[in-house]
Symmetry: C2
Subunit: 202 residues, 2 copies
DNA sequence: CCTTCTACCTAACGTTTGTTTGAAATATCC
DNA sequence: GGATATTTCAAACAAACGTTAGGTAGAAGG
């Protein structure tokens, strides 16, 4: 089945979308410029009118993957009403992450799956964007801790590593056509907040 | 920095180890037979004495990645003393997973990172091994639920998806040279059992 | 309508890839 | 030590790769 690039505004966007889909399915090195071009109903040489190199396409795909998620979570956090409970805030943040993650899944999957495989210079250039998103979560969880909402023996950074790990893994199995993202977010928030065991088993 | 294959018993093992390291760092398509051979201090043609194809190397690397983890968790579960508490059992299972995951991290990382990028026939051939491991966890978590240890609103399969997602993400940031795997396992078990929030916030 | 700009195509280049085959080197066995 | 088996090397092949440069078609502007 040959993936088709979605019909977006410009050829440049079409190339990026097609690239994201192909990179996540075949890895970076497994996707040739000819394959990307074919997916856009173009020829490989044409891609160089829009992008300087394959590496530049990759760099932008990786950045888009993170920026979408970052913007969504930032918005979720700032939209929270003043009297929101901690569980409500957590649900909002997780919901923001999951909605963006799963709605832009070609870009986000591409990032999650191939980040560690790409040339070092490109990894390094994506690290800033990644660090900014991590800092957003770390800030949020640190607030929860400062407010006395997190258990004293829970480190916010460790919690973030675990939480993002679990959330990003949904890319491998969750299908938005079959399930409801908000329900998923609620379940994950509940589990991370309260755990899986019945009380009294600790 | 040119990775060196660890000194193992046979050339065949050396090729597999080198391949796992290279696949996880560069993806499947990003690693040539010449690179693998060089890593083993051989030439590319020599690899064909031991393996029929690059795809065969890949298939074996992927299988090893899962089999190590499966064996460790199975052993952890069967070694649990008769009177073990549920939190103890959970700790054991998680510890088994994490120890294998992080000790054989070249193979397990290769699997986790590149599984979705490899040719379909190879994905399909690895699926059986994956399904068997998933079934091991599902069985264990179902026992916990049947024993009334899990919350009634927690689905064992969903819990497994979340748990394995979180555990496998440790491959990206945990360094066994800097941290203690058993401590990590204990923390993860505790978090997944009891959650991150102070009681009373649900 | 003519000129200029935009966006794509084509052909080609040098390099890299997985693989094969026969030769040579090394290891093992009697 | 010589014969045999195992293991590796070297050279080569066809195909594929990222990229370049010139050409062309169509759109836009005056």
């Amino acid at each position: 089945m040959q993936p088709k690039a979605p019909q977006t505004d410009t050829s440049r966007d079409r190339i990026l979308s097609a690239s994201a889909i192909l990179f996540r399915e075949h890895g970076y090195a497994g996707v040739s410029m000819r394959k990307i071009a074919e997916s856009c109903e173009m020829k490989a040489g044409s891609l160089y009118y829009h992008f300087a190199s394959k590496d530049q396409i990759l760099t932008e795909v990786l950045n888009i993957g993170i920026q979408k998620v970052h913007a969504a979570v930032a918005r979720s956090l700032s939209d929270a009403p003043a009297g929101a409970t901690v569980i409500d805030k957590l649900k909002r943040a997780i919901s923001g992450h999951l909605h963006a993650l799963l709605e832009y899944s070609s870009f986000t999957s591409a990032n999650v799956r191939i980040f560690r495989q790409v040339p070092d210079e490109i990894q390094n250039s994506n690290l800033e964007v990644r660090r900014a998103y991590e800092a957003l979560w770390d800030g949020f969880l640190q607030e929860l801790q400062d407010a006395g909402e997190l258990r004293n023996d829970v480190d916010p950074r460790s919690l973030r590593l675990m939480l993002i790990g679990a959330l990003n893994a949904t890319l491998e199995w969750f299908d938005p056509a079959l399930g409801n993202i908000s329900d998923l977010a609620d379940r994950y928030a509940d589990m991370l907040a309260n755990g899986a065991l019945k009380k009294g088993d600790s």
